[in-house]
Amino acid sequence: MSLIILLVVNWLATAGCYTLLATGFSLLFGVARVANFAHTALYMLTGFLIYTFTSILGYGLILSVLLAISSVIIVAISYYILVLNRIKEQPLAVMMVTFALALLIQDILLYIFHASLRGIEPFVQGYLEISGVRVSYQHIFTIIVSGVILFGLIALLAKTKLGKAIRAVAQDTEMATVMGINVGHILLITTSISAMLAGIAAAVILPLFSIEPYMWLNPLTIIIGAVVLGGLGSIKGSIFGALILSFAEVLVVTFIPEGGFLRGVASMLAMVAVLIFKPEGLFGVIFEEERL
């Protein structure tokens, strides 16, 4: 019983983080056709910014989280305008540039903070005891916040005028332009929403773990697996993909002795299997021009 509670709490907390990251990645890919390998680097950057603002500069937690998320949005928008906007049409160039940006962020952080483990302080202290298992309030907070943010995102996309415009651009850019939607603005807004999701994920999940400059790689493989599993460009699909893969990760880490090494492997194998047998994913939109 206690094991089940532990598993479920861990699963939901990890899944909260991965769903936020995967929906951000999927949103940007679906709307702008940009495979943003620097997405988890932004997540890492937010963690380090929060650390800087709270532990080094001594600001309050809420203020520093807001500052960190807004500066990450500024970073994302500026690299979108400066670099990605000019080479959007070449997929190889986009992948290489975003990967180079991720390496750049990693190296800058490595230069400033060195490769040591650090922690950021949690929003809420203390823990709850459920039938002998200590569940910290931060875990519960993470689960609630990520759920609320996800429902907010879905409501934004489904109900508001802005969400309608974003979906229109994702479906057909040229028709959206003809209908009077400012595609450039929509792409910028999508980029900032995606960066904001990465920032929020970092703010809620990172107090549970430690931060170090190489931590962007593992989540990246997992969210790519999740996004492909659910179907590229589909928000619902990436949420379910992240739920499934984070459950697999929690199982692997808990029950296999050397499980830490196998996290990425499970998601990558799932991705290859999905691409071979059901290429459109669980809920996916199939892009006809990318298949033979």
């Binding site: 670099v83 997929p91 190889l92 160039a93 290489m96 196998l262 990318e290």
Partner: protein, 363 residues
């Protein structure tokens, strides 16, 4: 299959020095051959590794450049070559020549396995699938620590050659032979080996290529096998050079480096990645000598990549070649830019500039 061999393996025809760009490459090769006279052991070692990575980068260019199959996991072939040669050399006691050959053949087998999903996908999906393979192999390496040594890898491989100079000349020769073979197989203007034209046709429009009677699947498998062979060869030699085969030979950085070199040098021109390696790799390694350079070398590599992609989207060598070569308008022969008339038919080369001058004098 029989017709495939008859069409493509006729014989090699040498026409190297007719055009300026080939002259430049010829001079570079001569200069490189004299490096051991002026360099110390450290620099020599850097250039030896540059020869090795030149094979690796050129092998990526066959797949990524000529076939248009974006392979984001090229380190899978490299790592398989390194691990198999290490296992053969340390556990079975084979001599380096045979273990290197075995390593590259196993890399070809890996290439054929990667082919299975890759033949059905393209673009972004293909990139994701190939990205997965080194990560999966890394997990496999970690699961069997008794066989593969886990984090530490397999150490104690035998040496290739005794002195650094021997090593350099050995690798230099291997590099020249492999790169020449790859270049010949992908040369579009070659008269006797048709794979270059066919590969380019498949990259530009696969359906049209298929309707004109080309067996596209066979050529894709061929490209994967050849690319995997040379990547495995470089991996196997690398393991013998550093005498360790570890998980670093399957790392993501190693998958992305050949792409960086190819993009810098010029994609789908075999010699472009080679020149990219010989410029970037020594630069990055020399930065290691400084305390600050050690920490910012990946940063500098990333900045170089971004700047090249923004200002020279086809790469350095293509940019230079476009500036030093002029194609004759009448007979389509390639001339150096300082010539006024074509070296074959004698037609005027700079016709457009003269017209502009003429208009200017009238107005």
């Amino acid at each position: 299959m029989y017709k495939f061999f008859l069409n493509n393996f006729y014989f090699f025809k040498l026409n190297i020095l007719e055009v300026p760009w080939r002259m430049v490459i010829f001079i570079c090769i001569i200069l490189l051959a004299f490096i051991p006279l002026i360099a110390n052991d450290y620099i020599l070692r850097i250039f030896t590794f540059a020869c090795l990575f030149a094979i690796y980068a050129a092998s990526w260019d066959i797949l990524g450049g000529y076939m248009g199959q974006l392979n984001m996991g090229h380190a899978a072939f490299f790592g398989v070559g390194a691990y198999i040669t290490a296992l053969c050399n340390v556990n079975l006691g084979l001599i380096p020549f045979i273990s290197v050959l075995l390593g590259s053949l196993f890399a070809v087998a890996t290439g054929l396995i990667v082919c299975l999903p890759a033949l059905r996908l393209r673009g972004f999906y293909l990139a994701l699938v190939t990205l997965a393979f080194p990560i999966v192999l890394n997990g496999v390496v970690m699961i069997f620590p008794n066989l593969t040594g886990g984090e530490m890898g397999i150490s104690g491989l035998s040496r290739f050659a005794d002195t650094p100079i021997d090593n350099f000349y050995l690798l230099f020769t291997i590099m020249l032979i492999s790169v020449f073979t790859m270049w010949k197989f992908t040369d579009v203007q070659s008269r006797f080996i048709r794979t270059g034209v066919i590969m380019r046709a498949i990259r530009e429009d696969e359906i049209t290529a298929r309707t004109s009677g080309i067996n596209t699947t066979l050529y894709k498998v061929f490209a994967f096998a050849m690319s995997a062979f040379f990547a495995g060869l470089s991996g196997a030699i690398y393991a013998h050079m550093i005498r360790v085969a570890g998980p670093s030979s399957l790392s993501l950085t190693l998958s992305f480096n050949p792409i960086v070199w190819s993009i810098f040098g010029g994609i789908s021109t075999i010699y472009g990645p080679v020149i990219g390696v010989f410029i970037i790799y020594p630069l990055i390694e020399l930065l290691r000598l400084h305390a600050i350079g050690e920490q910012i070398r990946i940063l500098i590599q990333a900045l170089i990549l971004i700047i090249v992609l923004l200002f020279m989207p086809m790469g350095l060598t293509t940019w230079i070649r476009d500036n030093i070569e002029v194609t004759c308008l009448r007979c389509k022969a390639i001339n150096i830019f300082i010539k006024k008339s074509c070296r074959i038919c004698g037609a005027n080369l700079h016709l457009e500039k003269q017209e502009v001058r003429y208009h200017r004098t009238i107005s």
